[in-house]
């Protein structure tokens, strides 16, 4: 066995590091590090930098503008980008819709939409979840009725991430109410400027705004915006979800989080000694680090297998569970390392003789609460366990 990257992969890692050191704007990285909301402008700036290097559409084939990377290259990029506090690449156009159009779209759809995703013309959001259809996506109710050359859409989507910025939304809609739950669904592209669409913000637990409700009232959508076949959207949806679940372990985020907790605990004085020397705190940190070290190798084993057989296996569900647990444990330790000062609302840190909390640590508690979401979204950890149960146990 050889656990190290191949010489080519090592060279690639160096190349990514050098690129991030040279090209990632320091002001954006500082905002990401401080847990501030990444603005639309920041995201667009970073996407443009990546695109100028040809690294933006990482899962697309080369003929459509992708870099031609395999799962290992993508993993190396993700890990290095997270450690450098790069903003995440928004997945909706690039990692979800793009591959769907490449596989299922018409030639006209590919020619029109793909270049606009790459150059940032269109900001996409996802219209899958509904109030009654979260994990159980097949029970969705938003209706699209064909009238001549148009579909008329009525219904409601929810948890629409960054939908407040979006130009377009790709939606699952019910086109045949009489069919079985997973049949009669279609995949539709809808311009957010169409009359009858209303976006309402959902304020989250820590006070931030990243998700929305989207209401459709008699929204008229040209029939040419249907992707693949009417009533066969489930095939498209399933394909998209396999793309949503790549990179789900979030190893890079956890490595960065571990480094921060260690640094904070090393400079925090608690009762006359450094917090990192507190045996209870140190033991908790040590346990998470062990889990993380194991998970890095688990992740690489999964990637090697995916590289070999051409697709990720059921282990992705285990990685999703453990990856989110490790990240949440690190968020928890980070918050606890700040003691009572963690309760400070970001932006309200008082001055005094010395800052009570360093600016980069102000959002520790907010991040802890916000990241409760990672074990819920993308198929909750309970759903992942159901997937594993079905795939492995034969009970």
């Amino acid at each position: 066995m050889d656990l190290s990257y191949s010489p080519q992969e090592q060279a690639f890692q160096e190349e990514v590091r050098a690129f991030l050191a040279d090209e990632l704007p320091a002001d954006i990285a500082a905002r990401v590090k401080a847990g501030e909301e990444v603005s639309k402008a920041d995201t667009e700036r970073w996407h443009a930098i990546l695109q100028s290097r040809g690294w933006l559409a990482q899962t697309w084939p080369e003929e459509h503008g992708g870099p031609g990377w395999g799962p290992v290259e993508r993993h190396i990029f993700d890990e290095e980008a997270a450690r450098a506090y790069a903003p995440r690449i928004l997945p909706f156009g690039l990692q979800m819709l793009g591959p769907v159009l490449i596989k299922f779209g018409s030639d006209e759809q590919k020619a029109h939409y793909l270049p606009r995703i790459l150059d940032g013309t269109d900001w996409w959001c996802q219209g899958y979840s509904e109030p009654g259809a979260g994990s159980d996506l097949a029970s969705l109710k938003t209706k699209a009725v064909r009238e001549g050359d148009e579909y008329v859409v009525n219904g409601q989507k929810t948890w629409t991430t960054l939908g407040q910025h979006a130009d377009w939304i790709f939606c699952l809609v019910r086109t045949d109410a009489g069919a079985k739950p997973q049949a009669g669904i279609s995949f539709l592209l809808i311009d957010m400027k169409t009359p009858g669409i209303e976006v309402r913000p959902i304020k989250l637990i820590e006070g931030g705004h990243e998700v929305n409700e989207v209401f459709f009232t008699d929204v008229r959508v040209p029939a040419e915006n249907l992707v693949w076949k009417e009533n066969d959207g489930w095939t498209v949806a399933k394909y998209l979800l396999t793309h949503e679940r790549t990179g789900i372990a979030g190893v890079g985020f956890s490595i960065a989080a571990l480094e921060r907790v260690k640094a904070l605990a090393a400079r925090t004085m608690r009762g006359g000694k450094r917090l990192i020397e507190d045996p209870l705190f140190a033991a908790r940190l040590a346990e998470v680090e062990m889990d993380l070290e194991a998970m890095k190798i688990f992740n690489l084993r999964m990637l090697a297998e995916a590289q070999r057989v051409g697709h990720p296996g059921v282990e992705t569900s285990m990685l999703k569970i453990r990856g989110t647990e490790v990240r949440q444990a690190l968020n928890d330790l980070y918050r606890r390392a700040l003691g009572p000062a963690a309760a400070l609302i970001p932006g309200e840190a008082p001055g005094g003789n010395a800052a009570l909390v360093e600016p980069e640590d102000e959002a520790a508690a907010a991040s802890y609460f916000n990241n409760r979401k990672i074990s819920i979204f993308g198929g909750s950890n309970e759903i992942q366990k159901n997937i594993l149960t079905k795939a492995m146990l034969e009970l």
Binding site: S129, G132, G134, S135, D136, S139, T158, W159, I202, K203, L204, I205, E206, G207, M269, R270, G271, G272, D278, L280, F281, R284, Q328, D332, R336, G339, P340, A341, A342, A343, L344, I345, E348, A349, P350, G351, G352, N353, A354, L356, A365, A366, Y368, F369, R372, K373, S375, I376, F377, S380, N381, E382, K385
Partner: protein, 346 residues
Amino acid sequence: MNFEMTDDRRMLADSLGKLLGSQYGIEHRNAVAYEAPFHDKAGWNALAELGIIYAFVSEDAGGMGGSGFDLLAVFEQMGAALCPEPLLGAAMAAPLLAEAGEDLEPLLAGEAIYALAVDELEAPWDAEGGTTEGGAALTGRKTSVYGANAATHFLVSARQAGKLALFEVKAEDAAVTPWGMIDGGGAGEVMLDGTPARCLLPDAGETIAAALDRGRLALCAEAVGAMDWCYATTLDYLKSRKQFGREIGSFQALQHRMVEMKTAIEQARSITILAADRMDGHTTAMAKSLVGRTARKVSEEAIQLHGGIGMTWEYPLSHYAKRLVMLDAQLGDADFHTARVAGSYA
């Protein structure tokens, strides 16, 4: 054995529950909790008129309670309603003022609002670790002073002649930097720079430690009240939310987690009752550690079992969850108190 509350305490708890239910509905609560001064004067006055603060003081000193069970009766209700009013400061100030032989009437009537200024940046939760010094005037920096925005008086721990003493500082004499807290309510930093102070107790180490432990007991009771609410709300949700054609509560994987949550809450309630009975540092430390760990677990489980809706500001659970997680960091987190317990083995 009798685990029933006395009639007097039950009546107090019931009246308090009704008052909080009518005056601190979640929308009003959130408006008060997330906006300076994090305090509703009318609500506070109603609490005082109900005689809540009398429950923190023994009959000898002019009150009508003062036992651990009195604290339990009051703070469970505060937790269940998520009330942000600075009652914790009153519960800790009462024994300190009584020990010092001060006139308790302004405290009991709710006219004077006290906040404890004990924590320092490098010595949170531990009065003995502080470096503030003085006599007729104090110099130092006190952090995490809960209720600092509303306080009329601060009770400050500081070194004097080699001993830990207790001082009173009038709010108008101190430089207070207020801040809002993520779980609602306000805290603040109190900067003392030759600030006029009156010494209440010249040798107050043990008295302050006991007052802090009373505060910890109150927080345990608050957590129990809030955890009960989270459990009941989560159970309701599991019975009403349908996925895959049935109530999600019909899934055994979720049922077991609810049972585990309920068991953990009963454990937390039990050790809180024990601490209320004994009122000693060792048992209180055990209670605060166990309750702190349980509160975080219950909060995380309640959110997870709700899914996305539990993550939203609009749904009341998210505010209970924040309070439950953050009260662990108040007056000593689980690790701090576990270390106190472990220290007794030496």
